[in-house]
């Protein structure tokens, strides 16, 4: 199916806004609802797919939507689960992460269709997110050792995210809607 021609400017603006909203909802849903059980025991072995969804969003739709979906989708999760206090940090750390992934995956007109660059983008975004959270939690706990505790969990999450997101993007990029 061909995309409907965008006759008016408002049309594409409205659609962009609504699509971003859907992506926020998707990231949120993946964070609370989609879990994979890992054989390792961190967090009871349950790893959510929110990070994977964030990667996919950034790779498919670029830095801006990726940043918005990551920041608000996961910030909303913090707000609604017991992590309210983390919401502002998440907003920053995940927003940056989404932006970095999108920026690299979409660099030089690649638009997320180069698997190598997608992989590169996701891997490079991991330290960005880790440092973001580290600094925020450091201030919160008045200590630079405590925040180290959340690093292993975050790394596992990101690794699962990458392992899931790269193949899913490869498939989605072939669907006519997302070319």
């Amino acid at each position: 199916m061909q995309k409907i021609q965008n006759h008016s400017n408002t049309r594409s603006q409205t659609f962009d806004m609504v699509l971003s909203a859907m992506l926020i909802a998707l990231v949120f849903v993946a964070t609370v609802f989609l879990n994979i059980k890992l054989p390792i025991t961190a967090n009871g072995g349950l790893v959510h797919l929110g990070t994977a969804m964030l990667f996919i969003t950034s790779i498919l739709f670029g830095p801006k939507k990726g940043a918005i979906a990551g920041a608000i989708g996961m910030g909303l999760f913090d707000l609604i689960s017991g992590w309210t206090l983390w919401a502002p940090f998440t907003l920053v750390a995940r927003g940056l992460q989404g932006y970095v992934v999108g920026k690299i995956a979409w660099s030089k007109g690649r638009n997320g269709s180069s698997i190598t660059f997608n992989l590169f983008a996701t891997i490079l975004s991991v330290p960005v997110m880790l440092v973001g959270y580290y600094i925020c939690e450091g201030i919160l706990f008045h200590n630079w050792i405590v925040p180290v505790a959340s690093i292993p969990g975050n790394i596992v999450q990101n690794v699962v995210g990458i392992v899931v997101a790269i193949p899913v993007c490869a498939v989605l990029k072939k669907v006519s809607f997302f070319k």
Partner: protein
């Protein structure tokens, strides 16, 4: 008679660069007058939704012109035109914008900058017109499909439109939901004299219309009163539709040798005929 909407030799193709492909809408002309109920029927993919997009200026025809309230629809008068048309689409979930019923009904009012006090009043009136006033603060996922569609209708009539367009608004609903919605539309027509353009492949629904447009493969195959259209008989079946129940029964009765005086579209007529032709001698 005041003309509200008309198509004049309208053609539209989603793939203008491939001229050999069938156009989604091909050389269609018709007009709708104030107060009428027009039904557009046709198989899946016959171009019905494309016509709706042409009316609302989401698409513009490549040939011909679309006139709303006697003005040719252009980019310039698009927004004014839209405020005169209310639309309800197929999927009840995908057109609910607001967080609650009342927010959703207010959406179009907010867009056109209606002042707060007037908004409140209009939201309440239109919700009571579709009998959803008890659900003001309900969230969409706690409503049935039929209720969501009624909210969508309320949202449309809150703008006091001249024309209400239903694009298969009942096709995803269960029978009860479908009845609810149709009843609502019929009552609204009486109450506020709305002009209705309803798109459907449910022939029983089309029976209520004053006039039917019968689409096939992007072309208008026929136009006429329900009795004229359903007189086409096998053509309807050939083009993906079916005959109304009463007509199917009439045909079967005649085939089995039951005496009947004529063709019937409604059950009442058929039963009466059955009575006069067979018992009342």
């Amino acid at each position: 008679m005041t003309e509200i909407l008309s198509f004049q030799n309208v053609s539209f193709s989603y793939t203008p660069d491939q001229p050999d492909k069938r156009k989604a809408v091909q050389n269609v002309s018709f007009s709708v007058n104030e107060g009428e109920w027009i039904a557009i029927v046709g198989h899946n993919g016959s171009g019905k939704s494309t016509m709706v997009k042409l009316v609302s200026g989401l698409l513009f025809p490549q040939e011909g012109e679309v006139r709303v309230m006697r003005n040719v629809l252009t980019e310039e008068n698009l927004w004014e035109t839209r405020s005169n048309i209310g639309m309800v689409f197929q999927n009840p979930d995908n057109q609910f914008v607001g967080a609650t019923v009342q927010d959703d009904v207010a959406f179009a009012l907010e867009n056109s900058g209606v002042p707060y006090e007037e908004m409140v009043e209009r939201v309440h009136t239109s919700l009571s017109q579709v009998k959803m006033d008890k659900f003001l603060n309900h969230e969409p996922h706690h409503l049935s499909g039929g209720q969501k569609q009624r909210v969508a209708i309320a949202g449309a009539i809150a703008m006091k439109p001249k024309l209400l367009i239903l694009d298969e608004a009942t096709s995803m609903l269960d029978p009860q939901g479908r009845d609810e919605v149709l009843k609502t539309v019929r009552e609204l027509r009486k109450e506020i004299g709305l002009t209705v353009l309803s798109i459907t492949h449910d022939v029983e629904e089309a029976l209520f219309a004053d006039r039917i447009l019968f689409m096939n493969d992007g072309k208008k195959y026929a136009e006429g009163t329900p009795s004229e259209i359903f007189a086409l008989g096998d053509k309807l079946i050939e083009f993906g539709l079916e005959l109304p129940f009463a007509m199917r029964m009439t045909k079967l009765f005649q085939l089995k040798g039951v005496q009947l005086a004529g063709q019937h579209m409604t059950e009442e007529e058929l039963v009466n005929d059955l009575w006069t032709s067979n018992f009342n001698k």
